[in-house]
Symmetry: C2
Subunit: 220 residues, 2 copies
């Protein structure tokens, strides 16, 4: 699944010609430049001129295709969604969530952090915020397979027949991952190498105790 498949509005500047051609090459150069500028100077430092200069393309090319800084932000977030990202598959829910949290923590503590720069940008650009919300929604949807696999392996309680329940996979995933964002991004704590596993383990224990069980919906 990619970010763009179920998106209702096409990303600004999405290449319309054959992939691998000049259009795709220019887009790759420009988006690389956006990522580098964002990581170095943050959202306030992002300008169409700076991106064009770094990408080595004419600024009218950037204006024509991406229009403005908002268009560049939307497209760089869309490109993150198009990446062939796969959720971890370690054989246990706790292992999967730990691996996911390690990946998240790594993306947040690396300096400069593109992920943190995007979050900062989303406080100031409505366009970037919407694109980012779509990306988050897609990533969490992709991760629901972790919970489905755990249920299939019998790791989590799902009652059958009358009083049937199912797991609210998204709430479980948010419970597992939110502490990592909270500690690193909002509390700005020093990254704790044990946090990814601890947050994962706590969510699994809560899930095993029924914290994310909801009545089964009709037809599910």
């Amino acid at each position: 699944m990619t970010d763009s498949t179920d998106s209702t509005e096409p990303a600004v500047g999405a290449p319309e010609r054959r992939p691998g051609g000049r259009t795709a090459r220019v887009r790759a150069q420009v988006l690389d430049a956006v990522r580098a500028e964002l990581a170095e100077a943050g959202h306030e430092g992002l300008t169409v001129e700076g991106v064009a200069a770094r990408a080595g393309v004419h600024r009218t090319t950037v204006y024509r295709r991406w229009r403005d800084v908002g268009g560049l932000l939307v497209d760089v977030i869309a490109a993150a969604g198009e990446m062939d990202w796969q959720p971890p598959d370690t054989g246990s829910l706790r292992g999967d969530l730990t691996a996911l949290n390690r990946e998240i923590q790594e993306s947040l503590v690396v300096r400069p952090s593109f992920a943190v720069a995007l979050m900062a940008a989303s406080f100031h650009s409505e366009q970037a915020a919407r694109a980012q919300t779509r990306l988050w929604a897609d990533r969490y949807a992709q991760c629901e397979i972790l919970v489905e696999r755990a249920v299939a392996r019998g790791e989590l309680p799902v009652r059958g027949a009358r009083g049937a329940t199912e797991l609210d996979a998204r709430s479980l995933l948010i419970a597992a991952t939110a502490p990592v964002y909270h500690q690193v991004v909002l509390l700005r704590a020093d990254p704790d190498p044990r946090l990814p596993e601890r947050a994962a383990a706590a969510a699994v224990l809560a899930a095993a105790a029924g914290a994310f069980s909801v009545p089964r919906t009709e037809g599910a």
Copy 2:
């Protein structure tokens, strides 16, 4: 406990003369103006001139006492820490954490949100970020009493004697509250009125299952 008691550096512009006097009055007017400007225009819209005009004080007064926008942000955060805030006391850990989460969600979804404006500012001002980190640390420290009371009531497992454990109160509090920030601030989901209670209940279940138990430290 207030934000300033154990702070090693005094807040910029903290009143040095008797409380309730002109100094305190001017500070109150200026900080009210900072909050209003922040909520309306965000961090980028904050200027010493705008704050002075809204507060009805001369801008040299603001420059002399707060120096710049960073100083104003630090002092408005310090003032939040000086508020006589008390953690909830409902008689159960689940009730306390639910009440805490409701208060948090309310502060984040109200428009304009001073809390969200401060978070946005902390991405861009190192001074504001440090002041905010201190405020968060103090608020979580204040809330540890919720966990202590729950242990005293026998709601949570603490093994005695050999193999003694104690609860990592802060990790429990973060697990309970992080999903609310995550959903509202980072995922920008529509506020879910059930989320405060669900996130609280999940953290309590995880705690009851031993998720936040750590070996007791010497002398604790």
